[in-house]
Symmetry: C2
Subunit: 431 residues, 2 copies
């Protein structure tokens, strides 16, 4: 195979090398507060006198694929958009992680290189969420759906009663799975109102002997988010929360919870990593029928290395945690998320009913914004036109229809601004 | 941040752009039969008349990190070395997958882009192993350790008897986990001989009513590999095999098995993906206490998309499958693996006892080669000197000590050749 490149290809993307991130990644430093250009910089021509030079400097892989101009705004509910600088950082060291001579994907999970990665990821997450020292942080596999079983298997015995507040599809799935391993009770459900609200905590009729109270902190499909958290009635009971779709989107008082669990693929990484934050005294009582991979004690004793963990996913989460810290932590991140959600909900509410969000205002999610069109026959057109404008994955979940804009941490303000402008223009043309 | 680069940096890696893989990845075509240089090509200087050119063409991230000269030979048992061209391909499209404007890590698992990835991965794997149409292929999470529970939970009821042939640590772990969910029986164990052999199949005393016969096709820690497979005694019984550490290392007659399962992180991808190949008629009988994520029926009905799968890992497996097909399929791959193992075992056996492999010759693994030094006090020195020569992860598993060279599909012949040369030199100096 020849090493020469047709000249026509040389200037294919002559300007990518100008991107500050190319330099930042090149030098291995993390472009933290860097705001990346979403438009292509002015074209620039390289002129060389040497034929050799023009025939032996191909546009290298990373640069040629790092054309920000081609990047879409991805409103998918998860897996979801990741920070652009994190992706470029990952790309720059995919083949050779920091001079180790290997990819993170090739590293023994017991080698010093990967141990430094997982330990940094945990300590950064502990700093982000200010996790108390009497809590374990576990990096597991299988998604929140595996935790739907692990929670009852580890926290209670078959005859124990546990309470579920069901504010959407995920809470409902968690309840149904628990029924295999204990006696779960739905003490409140939003189903009659199509999951558009959250109950007042005083009105909750908690079981006096419940071992735990389970909530889904943010319902990805229905766009309902807890703004505060209920307190379990019984003093021995704990609060358990599925935070998959709003994990690390705002500060959380971890000490209020017995267990917090979250799939990484919304706010903090790729799919394939599940993070469990659990109070240490709750560990060690798994039912005898608990598969070893669902036993928190095993993972706690082995620091998430009982078997081979999802190493590359944990590495990616680590890069995201670094980025969140560099942004100033979760307080700053929450401010940005509020600003993004604000302009989107304002546009919906200010559309005189052209756009509609069914969710009760006080509990609207900052992460997932479901909305419909008054003229539902226009929804397909809306999604089609948006895609043409490089705004993708706006279709609502198949179970509820309509549209949904997921605007997780990594969705830039520019993306929501562009969506809002498009919505107003679309209304002007079709209203 | 300035876009200009100090001139001193420009020629830091002036020759990387000459690497054929840079071009191959640049053009998006897959450098299939390409054998990559493990030494740096001759330095080459770019001469430009334009100052602008010399100050505006930084060494891009990928190229600067793709210096083959820095790449180590990684003998880790898993996660393990991956094909260099697969890594470069992944790097080239990490930020923007084939013009989609997003990374594979950001794609909705229900979007057309990812569906094309997982469907291609499955069809390529079916071609590689010639998987019959009455078998399902599932891409799951949780490693083989999760399958240790899923197998009995899906294949039998609590009172069913099942047989385990234990030829190493992994088979033993599988047996112990099964005891939670059925009545497993160890019908043969290599423990008395420190797991250095495999029984004659005729001598196996199988339980007449066993639901399945379980083997670990290759024991990663002890280096014992089945060269042929036993047949279950009862006509209703099936053969179940953990193929984690020799999956896709050679052709296998899938029709001989009821279930084949394998963690991807040895031969076919990064950690975090578990592949299950199961005869369809075995699906649908899970015990009531089976967590939904361990129920093959759920994953089969949903084509591995019941919940969010480990998308990026599946994408990487797909790239590896493409590469294995491009090499000519598993027949060709097996030839290469035999050649590699041959020169390593010959070196051990020809060392007059300086090096020793405890495994019975007829069942020595082509993947994991454990060996000790007659003078065990030299083992630490051996590992240290090898690491200096960029041959890493040669330490034996903590449970058995000594050394272990894992030489999976992606370990180049050059790597084993270099190890063998080092071993002979080490013996000459210390023998």
């Amino acid at each position: 195979m020849s090493a020469t490149v047709p000249h026509s290809l040389l200037l294919k993307n002559p300007t990518n090398s100008l991107k500050p991130t190319s330099l930042a990644t090149q030098f291995g430093s993390f472009p933290t507060n860097l705001s990346l250009p979403t438009t292509t910089p002015k074209p620039f021509a390289i002129t060389c006198s040497s034929a050799a030079a023009t025939t032996t400097t191909p546009i290298p892989a990373a640069a040629s694929t790092s054309a920000s101009s081609n990047r879409v705004f991805n409103f998918a509910a998860g897996p979801a958009t990741l920070p652009e600088n994190v992706l470029l950082k990952a790309q720059s060291e995919l083949y050779d992680w920091r001079g180790s001579g290997m990819s993170v994907m090739e590293m023994s999970h017991r080698g010093k290189e990967f141990l430094s990665i997982i330990q940094k990821a945990e300590s950064d997450l502990r700093e982000l969420l200010n996790i108390p020292s009497d809590y374990d942080v576990l990096f597991l596999q299988g998604g929140a759906t595996t935790q739907f079983a692990a929670i009852p298997l580890n926290i209670c015995q078959p005859d124990d009663v546990v309470d579920y507040v069901v504010t959407g599809s995920w809470g409902d799935k968690a309840y149904k799975e628990a029924a295999k391993f204990c006696k779960p009770k739905v003490i409140w459900t939003g189903k009659p109102d199509k999951y558009t609200n959250i109950p007042g905590f005083d009105s909750l009729e908690q079981s006096p002997d419940a071992k735990y109270l389970h909530i889904c902190a943010n319902e990805t499909i229905h766009g309902v988010e807890f703004k505060d958290y209920p307190t379990p009635k019984s003093s021995n009971a704990i609060l358990v929360a599925d935070m998959s779709s709003n994990f690390c989107s705002k500060p959380v008082d971890v000490s209020k919870f017995g267990v917090i669990y979250a799939g990484a693929q919304k706010n903090v990484g790729p799919s394939g990593v599940t993070i469990v934050i659990i109070r240490k005294d709750l560990i060690g009582n798994a039912q005898p029928i608990t598969p070893v991979m669902l036993d928190y004690k095993i993972h706690s004793e082995n620091k998430s290395l009982y078997n081979t963990p999802p190493c590359y996913g944990i590495y990616m989460c680590g890069l995201v945690f670094e980025d969140l810290l560099a942004q100033g932590g979760l307080g700053e991140v929450e401010k940005k998320n509020k600003k993004k959600a604000q302009i989107l909900y304002d546009t919906i509410d200010g559309s005189n009913g052209f756009y509609r969000c069914p969710v009760e205002k006080s509990v609207r999610s900052l992460m997932n914004v479901p909305f419909t069109l008054e003229k539902s026959e226009l929804e397909a057109e809306f999604i089609k036109e948006a895609a043409k404008e490089k705004m993708v994955q706006l279709k609502g979940h198949r179970s509820v229809g309509g549209m949904r804009a997921s605007i997780y941490n990594a969705m830039p303000y520019d993306g929501v601004e562009k969506l809002v402008a498009f919505m107003k223009d679309f209304q002007a043309r079709h209203g």
